[in-house]
């Protein structure tokens, strides 16, 4: 019996690996990832996992032309405004956008110009804390939030947004308080068109002045758009199963362009890499998410293509320090005091603590071992793919002596004497971020036996909620460009109203001043100088720790056709704009 069993196992082992030339399920495309989405409401979602679904289900006014991050094509709009075609006024403050006709939503109702106007207004007015609304509030009304520092809604918001977004016949007219060069790029990725009537029927904002306050900064799950979608895009959201962490998209056969070649798209979260890899090998997945350290396990497998050196417009991973931690129901801060069993809530407001951490990180080791030599150490928040990047910016070096010097000075010597204990978090399944946490833990704990750091993997949506609530003392995340402009890195990473500083509770007027000045500056060389100043200040203050300017790779079955990498797409290069894809 033993011999029979042994022979059977050996025989099975000798079988060739699956290298099928024809795809297993020609009309079905399956993408296996590690993160479930946060919400599919385009006015709420501000993470890549959610953005991937939105990209394929909804449509904004414009789209990027193939791999270009500069050239735009009309999508819902009929033309891309320019000064040449007269759709941008000579003073650069009025944009007239003619809209395409004959487009229908997934439920069959026709899309109107009023739907477009309402969608833009909703995107501006929902303005959830640390959400995407600031992307359009800034250019269209000149301020990044509908609420003041006291959290109260500003009285003039309604008039301002209605002045900024109007209809002239079937054209949308946008009036800006001042010229804003990246506006069209923003409109190529954000504020897609939603159906106003469907929203009203399902309990969302009806467009009226009287009710909009109720929908400002809402709870995530209160909107019908949270888990349902009715867009104009090439795919319909059939189902989001939160139990199995799976999205099912089906082809929109009434799409206004030719229908997609794929009939069904499955986006599924599978946390175990071994399972993802086996499903790719077996042909049950067409592409999978895999971090840089895993590339050697995916190369040279018959039937599988690894496309390396894909450019990115991102800063990832970044270690963020929370200056004022939210203590309420917070298990990440230990005792909440500097007593060796916890940290005080403003522990990271001390610059020496942050610098201690910065010098305790082994950048070279991380680049060599985790990134497999791909990429370079980041010199500031603005990546090298964008203007404004300062290649000569100062960087931290791994130096445990310097780290110790800073920790000895921190909190008047109390931090060194009493020690501390807290938890660093990263989103589960993300290997580079996990390694960043482990390197920090190992090196900082080695400095003083009284320093204790726990590392905890947290599921993506839970992680987002904890981070938004400012409950994470130190967390590792990244920033993927919303539009290709340095302001989109400077603002969310360093401005007090930006996505990260707002949750870190980091506020420095000098940072804000420089960012606002750079954004208003139209002379590229002067703008670059301001950004260089900003990045010098970033080094000095160290509100976060940028690590690597990276390139990425994509793994897919070789029967996948039509994929192109636009680094602006959410979840690029793993996720896809599925419309162009097909399988042999």
């Amino acid at each position: 019996m033993l011999r029979i069993l042994m022979s059977a196992v050996l025989a099975v082992g000798a079988l060739p690996a699956a290298a099928r030339s024809a795809s297993k399920n020609p009309g079905i495309f399956t993408y296996l990832t590690i993160a479930d989405a946060d919400s599919v409401d385009p006015a709420w979602a501000y993470d890549t996992a959610s953005g991937l679904v939105i990209l394929n289900v909804y449509e904004p006014l414009f789209q990027y032309d193939g791999t270009s991050t500069e050239k735009l094509l009309p999508l819902i709009a009929e033309k891309v405004p320019s000064r040449d075609n007269g759709l941008i006024s000579p003073d650069g403050r009025t944009y007239t956008i003619p809209l395409r006709k004959g487009i229908k939503f997934h439920d069959g109702s026709p899309m109107t110009a009023e739907d477009v106007r309402w969608s833009l207004l909703r995107f501006l007015l929902v303005d959830r804390a640390a959400g995407p609304s600031s992307l359009l509030l800034e250019p269209l009304v000149g301020y990044p939030s509908t609420r003041g520092d006291d959290g109260e809604i500003l009285a003039h918001v309604w008039n301002d947004v209605n002045r900024a977004v109007t209809l002239r016949g079937d054209d949308i007219v946008l009036r800006l308080p001042r010229p804003y060069a990246p506006l069209l790029s923003i409109l190529a990725a954000w504020a897609p068109v939603l159906p106003k009537a469907w929203a009203g029927k399902n309990g969302d904002w009806d467009g009226g002045e009287a009710s909009w306050h109720k929908f400002n900064d809402p709870s995530k799950e209160t909107s019908p758009f949270f888990d349902k979608a009715n867009g104009t895009g090439p795919f319909k959201l059939e189902r989001w199963d939160r139990k199995t962490k799976e999205f099912l998209l089906t082809r929109n056969d009434r799409y206004w362009r030719a229908p997609a070649k794929l009939q069904t798209v499955v986006i599924k979260s599978v946390s175990e890499f071994g399972t993802r890899k086996l499903m790719l090998q077996a042909g049950d997945a067409d592409t999978i998410y895999a971090d840089r350290p895993l590339i050697s396990q995916l190369q040279d497998i018959p039937g599988i293509t690894v496309l390396d050196d894909q450019p990115t417009v991102e800063m990832n991973p970044v270690v963020f320090f929370t200056y004022r931690i939210n203590q309420v129901a917070n298990a990440f801060v230990g005792s909440g005091r500097l007593d060796g069993a916890g940290i005080p809530l403003d522990f990271f407001s001390d610059k020496d603590v942050r610098k201690g951490f910065a010098h305790a990180f082994d950048f070279k080791g991380f680049l060599a071992d985790v990134m497999r030599g791909k990429g370079t150490q980041a010199t500031g928040a603005i990546p090298k793919s964008l203007p404004g990047h300062d290649p000569n910016g100062r960087t931290y070096r791994f130096d445990l002596k310097k780290a110790e010097e800073h920790f000895r000075k921190a909190w008047g010597g109390q931090a060194w004497e009493k020690g501390f204990k807290f938890t660093i978090a990263f989103n589960s399944g993300n290997l580079p971020r996990q390694t960043v946490c482990q390197i920090l833990k190992r090196n900082v704990e080695a400095l003083n036996p009284k320093f204790k750091i726990d590392v905890r993997a947290v599921e993506w949506p839970t992680f987002l909620d904890a981070y938004k609530a400012s409950k994470l003392p130190v967390f590792v995340m990244g920033w993927h460009a919303d539009y290709p402009d340095p302001h989109n890195f400077a603002f969310p990473l360093l401005h007090s109203k930006g996505d990260y500083p707002a949750t870190q509770k980091f506020k420095d007027p000098e940072f804000d001043r420089l960012i606002d000045a750079a954004n208003a500056e139209t002379d590229p060389s002067k703008r670059k100088q301001i950004y260089a100043q900003l990045q010098a200040l970033e080094f000095e203050e160290a509100p976060h720790l940028v690590i690597v300017d990276a390139v990425r790779y994509r793994t897919q079955r070789d029967w996948v056709k039509g994929w192109f990498n636009n680094p602006i797409f959410p979840d690029s290069p793993y996720g896809s704009y599925f419309y162009t894809l097909s399988k042999d």
């Binding site: 690996a17 804390a129 499955v266 129901a329 990440f332 589960s428 839970t462």
Partner: protein
Amino acid sequence: MLRYILKRLAFLPLVVFGVTALLFLCLQFLSPEMRASLYIKDPRQLSQIESVIEKYGLRKPMPVQYALWLKEVAHGELGYSETAKMPVSEAIRAFFPATFELTLISFIPIMITGIYFGVLSAVHRDKFIDHFTRFVAITGYSLPSFVLGLLLLMVFYGKLHWLPPGRYTLETDMLVHAEGFRHWTGILTFDCLLNGEWAAYVDVVKHMLLPAATLLYISVALLLRITRSSMLEELSKDYVRTARAKGLPENVVIYKHALANALIPVVTLASLLFIGLLGGVVITETVFDFPGIGRWGVQAAQQLDVPGVLGATMLAAFLFVTANLASDILYAVVDPRIRVGD
């Protein structure tokens, strides 16, 4: 027998009180704010934490808090699980049926294999079959489940394309979510049968075979060893010698006389095994991407999702109490001395 069962049932409220009191005491190590967060769904509600503390009486004397908490638990109000992104009671309803199915499909083969080979091993002591079964048992016991799971996946899925991971294929997914499909029991295999969907039934079972095989291999070892040692002890007793001397067929001696007496420790182990499987088999569920209660419970623990952990613990405690009662009753069935003594 009935008296014995009733007596055991009478103990049940006492056990439930003990379990809930223990869980409640564990909760008291958390601050009122942390306990209030059990009921919070949206992180922005944290600013109104005082009103939640007030609503649930979290600063009241401990006995009052306990009574209020029990009332909430009795109404199924176990809080909101951040990990599952749904209320705990809903999460249990969502994840438990998958684990229950996996338990059912694994447990019976585990019992049959464990007992059969345990007996075989004892009867053929120090022969090839004894050495072989012990070897298989020891490797199963010492092999980490994720290694075995991945190995099985590599062979039966990666190479042979027979048994895929996950819960079901896309076709079954579409079918079970279609309007016409009625979820009679919440247990997918049963529901597929009740809806007359044979292909879907086969598909669901196919997806459970590898996790079930993993569980079988890693769980059978202990059962096999206990059955073997218990059988060896019984086989050396006088009544077995007497039975053989009377000329009873060997099968009758082994299976009717010796095995019946050897089953008492096996029943205890089987009930613990059953609870263990029902409580969720974390690694197996993770490797096979099987959306069960174990994977959720561990994710909840990793992410400091207190309501999730509490819900999973309550479920495990409830299962333990129930299985314990069942094993007490089974004792009485297999060993008349117990019911007579009572």
